[in-house]
Amino acid sequence: MAFESGDKAKAYWSENVRLMLILLSVWFVVSFGCGILFVDELNSIRMGGFKLGFWFAQQGSIYVFVCLIFIYVWLMNKLDAKYGVREE
């Protein structure tokens, strides 16, 4: 067992799942939300030559995706260290 106790293992897993769900809700909002469901509403806002909804669908969502993964990597590394389950 890599964890000090069963409780620690449970706590690690629930923090992991919570982090995942938070990041996935951002993932959902920028793509399915801004890019698809509310695209018409957002299109009434302009950012230079872009309509905002269109921009999210073809540019913005992708930038957010990249950031989400690196944020996940960073936070998970911290979590691993906190619970002492980091690989050597």
């Binding site: 799942v17 018409d40 030559g49 990249v66 990597v73 690989e87």
Partner: protein, 567 residues
């Protein structure tokens, strides 16, 4: 030097590079053949994953599709990138910790069942073959246009090169050639895009350029394009034609399908640590994003450019006799054609009855440098890039097919006693056979190749994804549930696609679709069905054995991944 000589030089040089890498990175054991020894640096793996992922379809076709359907094309942009978030957060780290070689490995072990393993093997092989036929075709098309050889000759040449590094080097050879191929293809994609962006807006960054004003005017490019679209009877470029529910379902199917594709997942078995698997997914998406955020810019520029060249600045049409050379060059390939309906000797392109042009969407990327009058070496570069994209994806898929046969089917199922050396030999034979077979599919493409692309994603979404997710995030999911779910998902998705694509294609419209979801998006519904059936069935059948529950516990944290990898 003319375009053809330059193309031969560039393509030849890139081939020489790939073969040199193949000889340097020969695989000596099955572990090197299947997962490159598990020692690939996460950034290198990210690059290899990006090349593996971006196929001839991404390189050649995607910008063209977006160019023709505008906003609706966003489904591909979001779908084929958003899947990596799912991969990084929900799959890659856990599968890496599990530490075997393939997706069927995981399904078979986690669900303690040879039946589940065989279902997974069948799905993996089917998905990969569907995909690879299109790749070999892509190689053939690029060869035939740029080097003016027969499609068949092109396919055979490409096949020989892939044979070299896939059969010799296995995953090790493939990984390092894919790194080189990524560099070639991204350079080939962005250079013309930067040129065109400069030309049309004066902004050197295409991602910003297509939100800019047209050079020398006060009109935004996208507004101009919306205006042109309205005048010519097309749908406005920045709004779509598809219903919101369909866009939603297609995007979801592509995202989930991406996360469930075996040739993508297997790349995360090649890095040394669990945290490398996470990081590697981030690098992969970053490298993919360079192309995927450039594509919509290329699409916009190319659209404006093409309409202007064909219809002329006054939008009265251009005389065919004075047509630019690219139109005549590409007429030979049949990708563009003109029929003088009103007999005025002028070409005209529109979305209504005035239209006289037939334009294939693949032309957008391939002919773009010619349309924009870029130097010959840029055109040659695009040819080398297109071939790199097609070859890198083919190689990754070939490996999945050969591993499925030698490892999943023979070693783990039918002939568990074979030695490592013998298994390696079978892997090479399987890879070689698969190359010949897919080459034949490329030379004699069955009419349904284009039709079944949606199939690969729908199938991956409806089969693997729920089984893997439930296998990681629940301990109670048992073999009965998983098998029932996979079979239901696959059968439902297959039946829906086959019905609308082959049995009754005339009914393939929103009126007849269930909930307005097209066959492209049905994988999402198949996936939901899979989840529901799996959970219901698992509640009614015996619970999972204790050792499987321990396996699930052990993949949920990173420590000790090295040990797991050596079995």
């Amino acid at each position: 030097m003319d375009v053809q000589t330059l193309t031969i030089i560039m393509v030849g040089a890139s081939f020489a590079l790939y073969i040199a890498i193949a000889i340097w990175a020969r695989a000596g054991s099955t572990k090197e053949f299947y997962v490159a020894g598990g020692g690939v640096h996460p950034v290198a793996n990210g690059m290899a994953t990006a090349a593996d992922w971006m196929s001839a379809a991404s390189f050649i076709s995607m910008a063209g599709i977006i160019s023709f359907i505008g906003y609706d094309g966003s489904v591909y942009l979001m779908g084929w990138t958003g899947g990596y978030v799912l991969l990084a957060l929900c799959l890659a780290p856990y599968l890496r910790k599990f530490g075997k070689f393939t997706v069927p490995d995981f399904i078979g072990d986690r669900y303690y069942s040879q039946v589940a393993r065989r279902v997974a093997v069948l799905c993996a092989i089917f998905v990969s073959f569907t995909y690879i036929a299109g790749q070999m075709r892509g190689v053939g098309v690029v060869f035939s246009r740029f080097l003016e050889v027969e499609v068949a000759t092109g396919v055979i040449l490409g096949g020989i090169v892939v044979f070299f590094y896939a059969v010799l080097g296995g995953m090790k050879g493939i990984t390092y050639t894919q790194v080189a191929q990524y560099c070639v293809l991204i350079f080939a994609y962005t250079v013309p895009a930067i040129f065109i962006s400069m030309l049309m807006t004066g902004n050197p960054i295409p991602q910003l350029g297509f939100g800019d004003k047209e050079a020398g005017t006060e009109v935004f490019i996208l507004d101009k394009l919306d205006g042109l679209s309205r005048e010519l009877g097309f749908t406005e470029y920045t709004s779509g034609n598809k219903s919101t529910i369909d866009v939603f379902f297609i995007t979801a199917a592509l995202m989930v399908g991406t996360a469930g594709l075996p040739h993508v997942i297997v790349r995360f078995f090649t890095v040394p640590k669990v945290r490398d698997a996470r990081k590697s997914a981030g690098w992969a998406l970053l490298f993919i994003a360079f192309l995927y955020t450039t594509a919509p810019a290329v699409a916009t520029f190319a659209r404006v450019n093409m309409v202007n060249t064909i219809n002329g600045p006054e939008a009265h049409g251009t005389e065919y006799a004075k047509a630019p050379s690219w139109i005549k060059n590409w007429e030979k390939t049949g990708l563009i054609s003109w029929e003088d309906k009103n007999g005025d000797g002028k070409m005209f392109y529109s979305g209504d009855e005035r239209n006289e042009m037939k334009v294939d969407r693949d032309i957008i990327v391939l002919a773009n440098p010619e349309i924009a009058d870029l130097p010959a070496w840029v055109i040659a570069l695009v040819a080398a890039g297109g071939i790199a994209a097609a070859l890198s994806t083919s190689a990754g898929l070939l490996l999945v097919i050969s591993t499925s046969i030698s490892h999943d089917l023979l070693k783990r199922d039918l002939a568990p006693d074979i030695s490592d050396k013998k298994e390696l030999m079978f892997a090479r034979i399987a890879a070689a056979t698969a190359i010949v077979f897919s080459g034949l599919l490329g030379i004699y493409p069955p009419g349904f190749v284009a039709q079944v692309v949606a199939f690969a994603f729908g199938l991956a979404a409806a089969s693997f994804f729920p089984a893997i997710i439930l296998g990681i995030f629940t301990k109670s999911m048992n073999k009965e549930g998983a098998i029932a779910g996979m079979v239901t998902g696959v059968l439902f998705t297959t039946a829906y696609i086959v019905y609308f694509k082959f049995v009754d294609p005339s009914a393939n419209n929103a009126e007849h679709w269930w909930f307005g979801v097209s066959p492209e998006g049905i994988g999402t519904l198949g996936m939901m069905l899979n989840f529901v059936v799996s959970i219901v069935v698992s509640r009614m059948t015996p619970s999972t054995p204790i050792e499987v529950q321990e396996l699930v516990e052990s993949i949920r944290f990173p420590k000790g991944s090295g040990a797991a990898h050596d079995h």
